[in-house]
Amino acid sequence: MSEQVQAAVPAKQRGFSMDAWAVLLAFVLAALVRAGVFKHIPW
């Protein structure tokens, strides 16, 4: 069995979950766009 597959089951986490950090980052980016810090994001 692959070590990496076994490692896919994460150890118990403390503090914020990955979900919560992702939401926080998205909110911070949205706030910066709203505040005009990022005026144009190219694609």
């Binding site: 990496q4 896919a8 089951v9 992702a22 939401v23 766009v33 144009h40 994001i41």
Partner: protein, 361 residues
């Protein structure tokens, strides 16, 4: 074989140190994703200039293919692995930002329709996978993990259920490997089937969201078809993800009643812990966009930020998939998963075609 199938282990380390360890891998995700964009822009032009017939391949496929080539030839060196494993983080941030492209009314309307379809899909998937697991003589908890993985949301659901039903790590590994391998195959088969059946963006997007298990692969399978299909695939898959807590809770009750898992204490707390928080983030951004909190230009900027986040995700889908390592995970779980996925894909396709006629998509 230590190859890059999945998520790196989460160890409690100094946050600053942990941040530094992910930087190389995130840069690799960005480089592979951006290379996908460059190839999309230039390969077609080059082929046209040389009068070659070459299909128009979008950046999504280029990014996945480049990642697959790296992972399955030279492999992903250890220094990059922690950062590559962040692809799910970028996926979730991208989904929250994608909320800016949906008016809340559309979310409720499409989400309501999706919820009904998802309810049918989850019921069928769990029943059929349980039946198949018994026919193939799989261990009961491995069958439960495969059923949850194919019914709700792939790897996240398997990890959540493994803890709730006290399943062996070996069973989780088998189930995760089967779901990831089938997810990788769906990236190539779903768009082909969609085009062969001339599905429109709406029907194809809902089908991908219903039938592809892992959220990253569902988003990629949708985006491979079109931008609009990608949006709907993410919305439908997010609806599926929102139900993860209820399905895991039902399994926890089942195994606890058989004395093979710990009893669930506070049900509301259990549901909240299992609920994917990015679904709430998506709804909040969608509500703000609907309330005109953002200008049109700002919504465009948020949409592009979401695209960049998805670009890192698509690169990660390729980079973390190693077919050789996946093939070593055992034939039986893979066979059960494959048969189940084909049946679920066919059933959900029929469901979507019926819904298309009813709702006039």
């Amino acid at each position: 074989m230590a190859s890059s199938i999945a998520i790196a282990e989460v160890r409690p380390v100094n946050p600053a140190l942990r941040f530094l360890t992910i930087v190389p891998g995130v840069l690799l995700l960005a480089a592979v994703g951006y290379a996908g964009k460059v190839l999309e822009a230039n390969v077609g032009k080059y082929a046209k200039a040389h009068h070659w017939t070459f299909p128009n391949i979008e950046y999504v496929l280029w990014a996945i293919l480049l990642g697959l080539v790296i992972s399955n030839t030279v492999g992903v060196p250890e220094i990059f692995r922690a950062g590559v494993a962040t692809y799910e983080f970028w996926l979730k941030a991208g989904i929250v930002l994608l909320g800016a492209r949906f008016l809340l009314g559309d979310v409720l309307k499409l989400g309501g329709t999706s919820l009904a379809l998802v309810g049918i899909e989850i019921t069928l998937a769990i029943a059929f996978m349980t039946f198949l697991g018994r026919v193939f003589g799989l261990r009961p908890k491995l069958t439960s993990l495969l059923a949850v993985g194919s019914a709700v949301c792939g790897v996240s659901a398997i990890i959540a259920t493994q803890g709730a039903i006290d399943a062996d790590e070996e069973d989780s590994s088998f189930a995760i490997a089967a779901i990831l391998a089938l997810g990788a195959l769906s990236l190539f088969t779903f768009p082909l089937i969609g085009h062969a059946l001339h599905l429109n963006d709406h029907a194809y997007g809902v089908w991908s969201g219903l039938a592809v298990d892992n959220t990253a692969e569902a988003a990629a399978a949708g985006a491979l078809y079109s931008d609009a299909a990608g949006k709907l695939a993410v919305l439908t898959k997010t609806t599926r993800n929102a139900l993860i807590g209820f399905v895991v809770l039902a399994y926890a009750f089942y195994w606890a009643s058989r004395g093979q898992a710990q009893a669930v204490g506070n049900k509301a707390k259990f549901l909240w812990q299992k609920f994917p928080k990015f679904v709430l983030g998506f709804l909040i951004i969608s509500t703000l966009a609907t309330a005109a909190f953002f200008s049109k230009e700002q919504i465009g900027a948020l949409a592009n930020l979401s695209r960049w986040a998805f670009l890192l995700t698509f690169a990660g889908v390729g980079l973390r998939t190693n077919f050789k390592a996946l093939s070593k995970q055992g034939l039986k779980p893979f066979a059960v998963g494959a048969i189940g996925e084909v049946v679920i894909a066919a059933f959900t396709l029929g469901l979507v075609l019926a819904a298309q006629r009813v709702f006039g998509w």
